[in-house]
Amino acid sequence: MFNLKKIPLLAGTALAVLGLTAVAPATVSAADFPSKPVQLQVPFAPGGGADRTFRLFAPYLAEELGVPVKVTNVAGGGGWVSWSQVVNDWNPRRDDHKLAVVNIPHIFSFLNPDMKRSEKLESFNFLAWHSYDPGLWLVRADDERFKDLDDVLEYAQKQAIIVAPGSFGSDDHIGVAFAQQAVPGFKAKFVTSRGDNSKIQLALGGHVDLIAGNVGFFINSIEEGQLRPIAVLHPERWPLLPDVPTFEEITGKRNITYAGRTIATANGLEEEKRQVYLDAIKRAMANPEYIAKEKANKNHLQFAEGDDMWKLLREGQTVAEQAAYWKQEGVQ
């Protein structure tokens, strides 16, 4: 079947193809783009989950682009200080060496009429979807009151359960807000905190009953024996936590939330430049060394571009609209 004589020919063709792909970026981006360091703008402070991931990603992206990639932090306003810059101030000529991280579903806080924002999903020039981390509910490992999600729901129907969802309008809050609407009688009180780290503090110290967070961040606390997972807020069970049921399995209600990270660029950026970025991101994300590093960090990479990416983005908007936390009464 297999003709041995053809091997040199095959190898030759393969080499030629490889050679072409290696040369390809140089010919396509003949306009010498990018010509100077590229800035990757993270909308949160240094040390957070997004910052950590993109500082890890930057050297691999730099390798593909052929210029250094600098991570900058423009924090504040739940991401909006950075995002307003991206949408309103970035000029496709002047700011063509800038990329921005946009977090899903954080971005959907523009749906909240109180925010008085004029942006829409289409206001952003999204390049690619980068990573995905499903929502997770956890309790203190030695908390006898809660064996499983049923215990949590039963408790929350009798008295308000104290939840640490980070900040208002975050993906973690969206999951609890959905439960408040989908599960009859479910009552929750929110103890806000600055980021996931302080949630561990609040739960271990017995200051809250339930943490609403994400798998990637909290898996370490689970393996450490500090916290115990109760339910995953994802359509199926998550491979990293095969024994943890989904919210839907227990209640029949599809409660989905997640932290998604995308990369966007200036509106109106020339198509050729856009393609250079997109190709570089795609190749960097396929780098086995990078994949291994992210795997060790329990961060789930998920590349998507074009229509696939837009489908994910629109699904994200549906999730935020369903939870509609801003319509709830009795929220301070």
Binding site: A75, K116, Q201, G206, E224, Q332
Partner: protein
């Protein structure tokens, strides 16, 4: 302890080189207003990416320790604190500089910082697990009362002008409410301006209130005069025994405050220094000149901010809960190197973690020597003419503020607080009071609102049912009692004046 065997791991050429680079980078970056340890450490993550984990982390913890100390150089020499952790040192330190005692101030700052860092490092080495447990006891109610304790320092830093000090503090609290409210995601006092969504950051406020305001103040005098009032500086960089003995209890109080505040989540060095300073003023004796270059005040603030460094890494290493931004960035680096914080870190990778802790201790030790020489050289800036110094400070303020956040709005906020700080200083409305309001406002607000939610609107019974909260409330009561109790020397002065007045009357008669 078995951990001593890991000391040898630090002494490899590579690890020592990383340590020295960390110390020097930290000292320089700490001294420049705006550039601080979190930023320096974040920039080191990609550089040290391929290094062994212990070398990379030694680089980072050395930068952290040296950065907190480096901020004090410019605070003492120019009243332009390089980081928010050294703002309190600007008060007594700069007053000493103005009186030609810059080198004495640097000596005391170096001794207090190095010893504070060493003590804190040994606490990290030997007391990590029990101290981590204590840090877990801090919940919403404790955050609220700790912030109140910090706010009582306003009474101390207003130096007698209590009403003006309180106005300054309230202004700071009001400013701290600007921006998106975390509990409702609703923007407050932003007037539709995007730049105000993130509120007023501590960094632009510190740089404005102290450094930029100082540059404006320098513009007042003759452009050719210098700030130290002398033309020569002493070369003695080792503190004298008599100086140490004079400040011994101040140092101890500073170190203790630092060690404790290090394990309090969210507080850190920028709160510890003010509590230490206020404590010091309350313990003042006749003859102490607080606000006019009292070395005891400087010993306390400098001891406390470095006393924080080691213990603030405890919750991070043991529980995975970083106490501040620097610790959060170090945690990020730890995870990038494939290490997960927690018991497993100590169990599965003792070689890495204990090597890093010993590296931290040694970094504090070597930092003293390098810093003392460097600071002595830097002290020459106090001999520069004002006409040169003021514009240089302004440039660093603008560049540093922009570099820290990448947000041009922060530069305008910094300039605004520069003008506020200049006027406040001139009319005796404590700039430190404003800063305390800005730092502690968000901690107090979040704590109080969470207490109200958790306690179903009966906060008092909730707060008083928790022993740490009650302990802190007792400390607040003591602090307020001492703040308003007439001081022994005030009485003496009043009596003296009365006697003099009586004498005058007699003469008249």
């Amino acid at each position: 302890m078995e951990s001593i065997e890991y000391l040898g791991n630090v002494l490899t050429l590579v690890n020592l080189a990383a340590m020295f680079v960390g110390i020097i980078v930290g000292l320089i970056i700490g001294a420049i207003p705006g550039l601080g340890p979190p930023m320096a450490i974040a920039l080191m993550i990609p550089i040290s990416f391929e290094w062994p984990a212990d070398t990379a982390l030694i680089l980072m913890v050395s930068t952290y320790a040296a950065g907190i100390y480096g901020g004090s150089f410019t605070a003492i020499l120019l009243r332009a604190p390089g980081t928010s952790a050294s703002a309190a040192s600007a008060i007594e330190g700069y007053e000493m500089t103005k009186r030609g005692r810059a080198t004495e101030a640097i000596r005391m700052s170096t001794f207090a910082s190095v010893m504070g860092g060493l003590i804190s490092g040994f606490a990290l080495l030997y007391l990590a697990p029990p101290l981590a447990k204590i840090s877990l006891l801090f919940g919403p109610s404790e955050f609220f009362v700790v912030a109140l304790l910090g706010l009582t320092a306003i009474a101390a830093v207003s130096f007698g002008a209590v009403l003006k000090g309180l106005i300054a503090g309230l202004f700071g609290l009001l400013v701290s409410t600007v921006g998106v409210d975390a509990a409702s995601a609703f923007p407050r006092f932003t007037y539709g301006m995007t730049g105000l969504l993130s509120g007023v950051g501590i960094l632009p406020a510190v740089i404005g209130l102290f450094a930029f305001a100082q540059a404006l103040t320098l513009c007042e005098g003759s452009p050719k005069s210098n700030i130290s009032g002398t033309t020569k500086l002493s070369w003695n960089i080792m503190p004298r025994w008599s100086e140490i003995m004079h400040c011994r209890w101040s140092l101890v109080r500073g170190w203790v405050t630092g060690l404790i505040m290090g394990i309090v989540p969210a507080a850190g060095a920028s709160v510890a220094q003010w509590i230490a300073y206020a404590w010091e003023i309350q313990r003042g004796k006749p003859g102490d000149k607080f606000g006019e270059g009292e070395v005891k005040g400087l010993a306390a603030t400098e001891g406390s901010n470095n006393g924080v460094t080691g213990t603030s890494l405890i919750p991070m290493f043991v529980l995975g809960i970083p106490g501040g931004i620097s610790a959060a960035v170090i945690l990020g680096a730890l995870m990038i190197h494939g290490l997960q914080p927690g018991d497993r870190l100590f169990r599965d990778s003792p070689d890495v973690i204990f090597t890093v802790i010993w590296g931290f201790i040694l970094a504090n030790f070597f930092m003293g020597g390098i810093a003392a020489v460097m600071a002595r050289t830097m002290a020459y800036v106090t001999l520069f003419p004002r006409g040169l110094l003021a514009p240089i400070i302004m440039i660093f303020c603008v560049v540093g503020t922009f570099a820290a956040s990448g947000n041009p709005w922060d530069v305008w906020i910094m300039v605004f607080f520069g003008i506020v700080g200049y006027l406040a200083q001139k009319y005796n409305f404590s700039p430190a009071g404003i800063l305390l309001g800005i730092i502690l406002g968000p901690i107090a607000e979040e704590g109080l609102r969470n207490v109200l939610i958790v306690s179903d609107d009966s906060p008092f019974s909730f707060i008083f049912s928790r022993w740490i909260s009650v302990t802190i409330i007792i400390m607040i009561a003591i602090a307020l009692y001492y703040a308003f109790k007439p001081k022994a020397w005030d009485k003496a002065v009043e009596e003296g004046e009365a006697i003099l007045a009586a004498g005058e009357e007699k003469k008249d008669a």
